[in-house]
């Protein structure tokens, strides 16, 4: 009974957002064009610098970049919809009312995330289509199931970070914009969104290796394309046992995804409870 009710509430939040989105077709078209022009700007650069002498390498690099951009679409969407979504509701004065309704605390952020996942998948499909048309590169999907699992872990991690931001934003209000933007900038520069990790300078790669999302992006796109991970290569020694780098990266990403998801959830729920007690949920 409880599960059924929670699922219904979750669907209501998702449907509510989808309804709002479909009411503004011009806004939707503008978002698609936004994606197209960013893609064209970066594609122009890639086409200037790409070498037609190595078609195989070009195809793999194009796929790495395209799937990296796809991961960015999902991550920035989650930050915007869940991280800033809560603060948007607070600014408009409806957050307190929503949280006063008899729904579980986790339903609202998860509903927003589910909505964003649907929208992001549409945009990801368009990105990949653009890659085929503009880069003239084939789509490489060698391991769809593995890629899907990698995407699920990446989603968990992004959702965890978004809830963390939402928790901070409800309390910090406008100051949190800087944190959200900083998160996005760090992601774009260090998490290999627009380039393969293997081509990054060593000093940058060291920073990339300290950011959990880098591993999630790496495992998602390299599994999908069917190449070895770029961040953990060869064999890795753990407690005297030697395991393949790919397996080590899967374990690492799996553990980190669960940990960040739990951390984000705890921070958000504690902030909501604190906000209810001190009465700042409705203040902006």
């Amino acid at each position: 009974m409880g599960l059924k009710k929670n699922l219904r509430d979750l669907w209501v939040i998702t449907k509510y957002n989808l309804k709002i989105e479909t009411r503004y077709p011009i806004s939707y078209a503008a978002s698609l064009l936004n994606l197209l022009f960013w893609f064209l700007a970066f594609a122009t650069l890639i086409l200037i610098f790409s070498s037609p002498n190595s078609p195989q390498e070009y195809a793999i690099k194009s796929n790495i970049i395209a799937w990296g951009i796809a991961s960015y679409i999902l991550f920035s969407g989650m930050i915007s919809e869940v991280g800033y979504g809560m603060i948007r509701l607070q600014r408009r004065g409806t957050l307190e009312q929503i949280l006063l309704t008899p729904i579980a605390y986790w339903v609202l952020p998860l509903g927003l995330a589910a909505f964003e996942l649907i929208i992001s998948m549409i945009f990801v499909s368009i990105t990949i289509l653009l890659m085929v048309i503009i880069f003239k590169a084939p789509i490489i999907i060698v391991n769809p199931l593995g890629g899907l699992l990698g995407l699920a872990l990446f989603f968990m991690m992004s959702y965890g970070f978004s809830m963390l931001l939402a928790g901070v934003a409800i309390k910090a209000k406008r100051s949190s914009w800087a944190l959200g933007n900083a998160l996005t900038m760090l992601y774009m520069i260090f998490c290999g969104t627009f380039y393969p990790f293997s081509t990054l300078p060593e000093q940058i790669l060291i920073v990339s290796k300290f950011i959990p999302l880098s591993y999630a992006v790496d495992i998602f796109r390299t599994t999908l394309i069917g190449i070895d991970p770029e961040l953990i290569k060869g064999e890795v020694d753990i407690l005297g046992y030697s395991i393949p780098g790919a397996l080590a990266e899967w374990i690492f990403v799996g553990l980190l995804s669960v940990a960040i998801l739990a951390l984000g959830y705890i921070v958000l729920i504690l902030t909501i409870k604190d906000g209810r007690r001190k009465g700042y949920l409705g203040q902006y």
Binding site: Y24, I26, S27, Y28, A30, S31, L33, N34, L35, L36, F37, W38, L40, A41, F42, T44, L45, I46, I48, F49, S50, S51, K61, I65, R91, R92, R174, S175, W177, A178, L179, N181, A182, M185, M188, I189, T193, F194, Y195, P196, T199, L200, P201, I204, Y284
Partner: protein
């Protein structure tokens, strides 16, 4: 005018994180295309060599840094007035502002003064920090920089007119984010932030030169790096002057028209 400036400035200094991000933004916008090019070519030497075939300069990093800085500056000026109106509308204070006994031009000038001071401090600070980090301080600290700054400042006049027009759009459509994002992406693509206008298809280039920032970016690069102007120094300056005459007038007419309609319908306070 002073009151608008002071109010906005006070809010700005309350959030030091914003200033920090604005300062690092051009550096951030430089790093991504540089890494992307590096990722495709495999080395900085190859990147510079290939780039020189298109832009007549082997300094790809400074080329992009200059483009990113001018772009961030122009973009902030173009959007700031509209975004300020949007914020006031969202928190329900826009109607009160319009009820105050001040003309639109006074509001705009106060807002312009704020945008100009903040964005120039941020951009010059940003370009100095980035140049110091990347080893271009000797290029930036030269008389050429002042000449480039003059061209950039001239380009601000039409951009202020555009900001009025976008303010009018905010009053009309209420939720401007999709439009803002779309236009930002379009302008990044057509104004040659990361590459010379010459690599764009001819039809896109025609659209690009209608936009003042494309000329600002190309001419600032031409002055600092001895690369090509869009047409020539004289024609580019005349183009910017003509835009400086047309855009403010057009922006003001559109803004007053839409504000008048919104006042008649009683929709200024509605969000």
């Amino acid at each position: 005018m002073k009151a608008v400036f002071k109010a906005r400035y006070k809010i700005y200094v309350r959030y030091p994180g914003w200033a920090l991000l604005n300062i690092v933004f051009p550096l951030f916008l430089t790093v991504i295309p540089v890494f992307l090019a590096f990722g495709v070519t495999g080395s900085m030497e190859t990147t510079n060599l290939i780039f020189s075939r298109y832009a007549k300069t082997e300094d790809f990093v400074f080329y992009v840094l200059l483009g990113s800085t001018v772009w961030s500056l122009s973009s902030m000026i173009m959007w700031d007035f509209g975004m300020w109106l949007y914020e006031e509308m969202e928190i329900g204070t826009l109607e009160q502002i319009f009820l105050a006994p001040v003309h639109t031009i006074e509001l705009l000038l106060g807002s312009i003064l704020y945008t100009l001071v903040i964005s120039l401090i941020n951009s010059i600070g940003g370009v100095l920090i980035a140049s110091a980090l990347l080893g271009y301080l000797h290029i930036v600290l030269s008389p050429r920089f002042l000449l480039a700054l003059m061209i950039i400042l001239l380009g601000f006049i039409p951009l202020f007119g555009m900001s009025l027009f976008f303010g009018a759009i905010v009053l009309r459509i209420k939720e401007p984010w999709a439009f803002f994002n779309f236009l930002t992406a379009l302008l990044v693509y057509i104004s040659g932030v990361f590459y010379p206008l010459a690599v764009l298809p001819p039809s896109v280039r025609v659209i690009a030169i209608l936009f003042p920032a494309a000329i600002q970016i190309a001419d600032a690069r031409a002055i600092m790096l001895d690369v090509e102007y869009v047409f020539s120094p004289l024609i580019d300056t005349l183009l910017l002057i003509s835009y400086a005459l047309v855009w403010p007038l057009f922006g003001l007419i559109m803004f007053e028209k839409i504000k008048y309609e919104a006042r008649k319908r009683g929709s200024i306070g509605a969000y």
